[in-house]
Amino acid sequence: MVDRREKVWLVSVLIVLVILLGSIAYALRTGYGVASEAIVLPPEKAPGLFQPGVKDLGGGRYQVDIIAYQWGFRPSKVELYNPKEVVIRIYSIDVIHGFQIVGTNVNAMVLPGYITTIVWKPHQSVNGTMLAICNEYCGIAHSAMYMEIVIRR
């Protein structure tokens, strides 16, 4: 019933699946940056509880809190000196936005009502001005929504 060609096909399909699953397992072990738990924060309470800005936690660790709004990020520029681990927390005060640091794996959704947390461990080679953009449609000036992340080594 199962002839040779069927076997070849079956085995190749299984190999592809195993490789993909293996790569996911590897990513999960070595640190998949997008946090899945979310902090619920109703917009009314946000002003007191969520302050945009950079906190230097020492030893190359930073916490960067960002507000996403129609149409921009606050702060619109941050500078980090020799970052090893950056915890980025983003909160939208209006509609859905995206947050993607171009050229990295940092890529997540920002949903109003929830705080998105991303842990970013920039590679040593990351240096200079990085472009971070909103990559989810958020209204008529969506394409104007971006910020700069400056990395100094």
């Binding site: 096909w9 399909v13 998949y32 619920v40 924060l41 509609v95 171009v102 953009i133 449609y137």
Partner: protein
């Protein structure tokens, strides 16, 4: 009350109109979004046009063609009349619903208020459109349910008289399509009726995470609602044009069963980077996604073997000799096979999208645009185009107006699509965003984006021209095509060769039950997570940033 034939003609003609308008929108956005190319629309218009493109082409062109095709297959294979009142009601609701939903988009563009309908075809709240948009969608959903009732009514009557008989393959594909639709649409219906219509009328606050989850509960099976009819055509029609048998009809039914089982409990793979959904549930959906992919891998094997056998029968020898012996000049054949190849490209990209970690690189980039143009814009649309060349002569008793045009058209579509989608895939890997009017970002954008998007534009223009050839051909056919004897639909579909005994695959009820169990497992967990954390409802806001209820 309308006959089956009238229903098919109306729904297919309507689908062509939608394809034509949506295709025009596609060209406008293609050129406008390419750096250095002329801006044909401004930014607010761009998003209205993009909404129209997604709604008219991706959702409605496919849906209306599928309705016509379903009636054609069912009435040809089962030879039983439909209840005409149900068909008429379904057609009226679906068409009125489409026009109502189109009003904020097209009307808004015409009266200079493009933001009336600029929420894109995923309409994530709290972005707000004119209420007509959501109400029209609800009408389309209700119409589609009545349509499904009309088909199941015919099927149940057929089954009573044919106890113990296997379900013909084409019919099996149509039933699988509708079952997937019925599994999926409750999610959309709840989102639209419970949240979005009240949001747009009275300013109800909605939870964005819950609504995204409901949307993607629907959104992934939606792609199988598009794909399964195309696969059905490959299974039921391709062997017929080649005068051979399908390599394995059993494997074909197995593939359909896999689609019934696993096309719904996978929607979280669209929400990998959403906050608030646990990694374990995302992984569960990843694994189930790989399970649905098995249905596609099975199909790929079955079709290639069928083609190879047909080529070998015609004297092609060696590992690749069979390829040259196939009827590449027949647009019905070439269209379907090129569509099949596009699914191969799209399928591997899809495996990347569905992998939790790789998704991070491509999420919301132009990679995704490349992906769904090879799949729904390539595999599905090109198959429906090929089927049109077969169906129109049957339905109208006229031969295709220009066979010369028909012959080159599928190749142009294929070549254009390959150029477009490869360029967009690569640009996506470099991070170029989708759904974006202007990707210059004050000069900070990587310079590699521009040439890639430009090459993409060239490819897009090529398949857009191919679309114009198609639309003009199908418009002219009923008007100036040569009259030919009207064929009987049944002769176009393989299978009529007598009675076959039913097997385990034909016990559809069992598969539906298992599917429901899988859906409950895969979705009760994330829904529990969302609800037990406590919702966080927010106020709606228009695309220009106004709060009409605030």
């Amino acid at each position: 009350m309308i006959s089956e034939r009238t229903f098919i003609k109306i729904s297919i003609a309507f689908s062509y109109i939608l394809l034509a308008i949506g295709g025009l929108f596609g060209l406008l956005q293609l050129v406008s979004r390419t750096p250095g190319a002329p801006k044909l629309v401004d930014e607010p218009q761009y998003y209205a046009v993009l909404t129209g493109h997604g709604v008219f082409i991706a959702i409605l062109w496919t849906a209306f063609f599928i309705l016509g095709l379903a009636v054609f297959v069912i009435s040809s294979e089962l030879g039983k009349p439909f209840r005409r009142s149900l068909l008429a009601l379904a057609a009226v609701l679906a068409i009125i619903g489409s026009v109502v939903a189109a009003y904020p988009i097209v009307g808004g563009l015409l009266i200079g208020q493009p933001t009336m309908g600029a929420v894109l075809y995923t309409f994530y709240p709290p972005l707000l459109a004119h209420p007509a948009f959501y109400i029209g969608l609800a009408l389309v959903i209700i119409g589609s349910w009545i349509f499904a009732a009309a088909v199941f009514d015919v099927f149940i009557r057929w089954r009573k008289e044919n106890k113990g008989a296997a379900i013909p393959l084409g019919t099996f594909g149509v039933l699988a399509t509708l079952i997937i639709w019925l599994e999926a649409t409750p999610g959309l219906a709840i989102e639209v009726i419970y949240d979005l219509i009240p949001m747009s009328l009275f300013g109800k606050r909605v939870d964005v995470l819950l609504d995204r989850t409901l949307f993607w509960y629907f959104g992934h099976p939606l792609v199988y609602f598009w794909l399964v009819p195309a696969i059905t055509a490959w299974y039921a029609v391709l062997p017929r044009i080649l005068n051979t048998e399908l390599y394995s009809p059993k494997a074909a039914k197995l593939a359909f069963v896999i689609f019934i089982l696993a096309s719904t409990p996978v929607g979280l793979h669209h929400q990998f980077v959403d906050p608030g959904l646990s990694i374990s549930f995302k992984m569960l959906h990843t694994v189930l996604t790989y399970a649905v992919a098995l249905g596609s891998f099975l199909t790929a094997f079955n079709i290639v073997m069928t083609l190879a056998n047909a080529g070998a029968l015609r004297g092609g020898d060696g590992l690749f000799g069979w390829i040259a012996k196939l009827p590449w000049r027949d647009p019905v054949f070439s269209g379907m096979v090129l569509a099949f190849i596009l699914l191969g490209v799209g399928g591997f990209g899809g495996m990347v999208n569905a992998s939790l970690n790789l998704n991070n690189v491509v999420h919301n980039t132009t990679w995704v645009v490349g992906h769904f143009h090879t799949t729904v814009g390539g595999a599905v649309t090109l198959t429906f185009i090929a089927l049109s060349y077969l169906l129109l002569p049957v339905m109208f008793g006229r031969s295709i107006a220009s066979m010369g045009m028909a012959r080159i058209q599928p190749y142009l579509w294929f070549i254009g699509m390959m150029i477009f989608s490869i360029a967009y895939h690569i640009a996506g890997i470099y991070g170029a965003p989708r759904r974006t009017y202007d990707s210059s970002y004050g000069g900070l954008a990587p310079s590699i984006w521009d040439p890639l998007l430009f090459i993409g534009m060239i490819g897009g223009i090529v398949f857009w021209i191919s679309g114009v050839l198609f639309i003009s051909n199908v418009t002219l056919t009923p008007l100036i095509g040569k009259r030919v004897a009207q064929l009987d639909g049944a002769s176009l579909l393989r299978n009529g060769n007598g009675y076959e005994k039913a097997t385990i695959y034909d016990r559809i009820g069992i598969w539906v039950l298992i599917a429901i169990v899988l859906i409950v497992i895969a979705y009760s967990l994330p829904l529990f997570e969302i609800l037990s954390r406590g919702l966080s409802p927010v106020l709606c806001i228009t695309p220009e940033g106004l709060k009409p209820f605030g």
